[in-house]
Assembly symmetry: C2
Homo-oligomer: 280 residues x 2
């Protein structure tokens, strides 16, 4: 006689009133680094999942949507993004998308926690694969300090941060975006993940307002993201010039993407009214 198998679930309490659980095969890695708890769980439905301080960061199944939308929209908005900085994003997924652009000469990853990068290289090798590109330089420094010391250095800065609590809180301030502006070369573009338009409207507004005085042209755009709170995410791009709605179809097609295309880029400008109201 057999009994039912053990029920093993990994669950994030999202906000305080919603929980998303995934049935798990096993825990692959767990440690507390200098900065946060790092956990990798093998799940049945979303493959391997990385959690930092108990929140979903990356799953193998849906990470392409987030990383493509964070990287390619701003990268394609720049005519020739040669030097690129990613702040946070220690899993490497954003850098993997950045180095698909043949214009890139150097891509710097500034991830404060060396353990995130090490754990992802070991347990999420496909996500971390871009870190091996010879154009990539991985630094384990505080992004806020780094950016203040590198003026006029980058064409695109991507802010791939955790939520506005813990190590990432400094990445949500107007001072940070003023430093981003200084760190960008002429025509430079910044883009940040800016949380859920459905349940974090205050953060969406805060990112936009923090960018406002340094970046007169901003674009709030959305994408689905199954394992993040509400399954619906936002990004905010900023520039000194209007962001282009139409981008090169040929350049976009060369990126070998599963979510982003030149058509998806243009569609991202069609912001639903409920989301537009968040930044009015």
């Amino acid at each position: 006689m057999s009994r039912p198998p053990m029920e093993l679930w990994i669950e994030e309490i999202q906000g305080k009133d919603v929980r998303l659980g995934l049935r798990a095969k096993t825990v692959l890695h767990r440690e507390v680094s200098e900065f946060q708890e790092i956990l990798v769980v093998d799940t049945l439905s979303y493959g391997r999942a990385l959690f930092l301080d108990g929140t979903f960061q990356v799953t193998e199944k849906d990470e392409f949507v987030y990383h493509e939308m964070l990287a390619h929209l701003p990268m394609m908005s720049h005519p020739s993004p040669r030097r690129v900085l990613v702040i946070g994003g220690g899993d490497g997924g954003t850098i993997r998308e950045v180095v698909k652009h043949k214009e890139v000469e150097e891509a710097v990853l500034c991830e404060i926690d060396p353990r995130v990068t090490a754990v992802c290289r070991e347990y999420l090798p496909e996500v971390a694969s871009g870190l091996a590109d010879p154009r990539v330089r991985v630094l384990h420094e505080d992004g806020v300090s780094y950016i203040k010391e590198h003026k006029n250095s980058f064409d695109v800065i991507l802010v791939d941060s955790t939520d506005p609590v813990g190590p990432a809180v400094g990445l949500y301030s107007p001072e940070f975006y003023a430093a981003c502006k200084e760190a960008l070369r002429a025509g430079g573009i910044v883009c940040a993940q800016s949380e859920s338009p459905f349940v974090n409207g205050d953060v969406v507004r805060r990112v936009s307002q923090s960018m406002q005085s340094s970046f007169p042209h901003r674009l709030l755009y959305l994408s689905p993201l199954p394992t993040y709170p509400s399954g619906f995410w936002s990004f905010t791009a900023g520039a000194g010039q209007p962001l282009p709605r139409e981008v090169s179809k040929e350049r976009a097609a060369a990126l070998a993407t599963r979510y982003y295309t030149a058509e998806v880029h243009e569609a991202a400008f069609a912001l639903p009214p409920f989301a537009a109201a968040l930044i009015e």
Copy 2:
């Protein structure tokens, strides 16, 4: 001395390996009708939520996205949708959007389970509000039988069904769509919810294939939907003629929507490659 308050959660097991839970205030209503279990729960984060056979159908917070996208894209694709049929959709949310179109002379709701409609009128009055429109006729019949008996009768048919198990299974077959074609007048358009492109790729493909022989022009389009599996949903529209990418901005603006606009309509044509691959 006080103890922590009771933890009350309502949870859907989505597929078999994912669960989405909402913290609840109380259960407002629970019954087993002739067709299914009907449950209304008051939640902290999504307001009141309707469950049929244990699956999220409607929450007060996110229902606008689903109902606007199911109704307005096909309605706006028709030059003058005067007679409209909604199959399923007993909560009334789709009908509420349909009757925003001033062209509508009659809107028939064919919901098999009278208890769904009664429960929603009582516990989700805002969602059910459209049912009171004098142009609306509510029938409690089987949609498959109804449609076979009404040839050449409708301009738009909206299939607002539950999942392809239980009472809705007949709404996913080629025979059903052949009957829809017969029930439509010249230039008519059908549109169905077609499940998650992320976790129900087989259903996305099945709906498209079932429409294929009756509707040579089809459009698969997507929207986020926080409380449905993966938070990411699909709809499939079918017609005898190409569906228009551009629709009247004036007509769309008159609908007083929070998600759908003429720009969102056009953006819906930008299908990400991973989703396009589902129907290749």
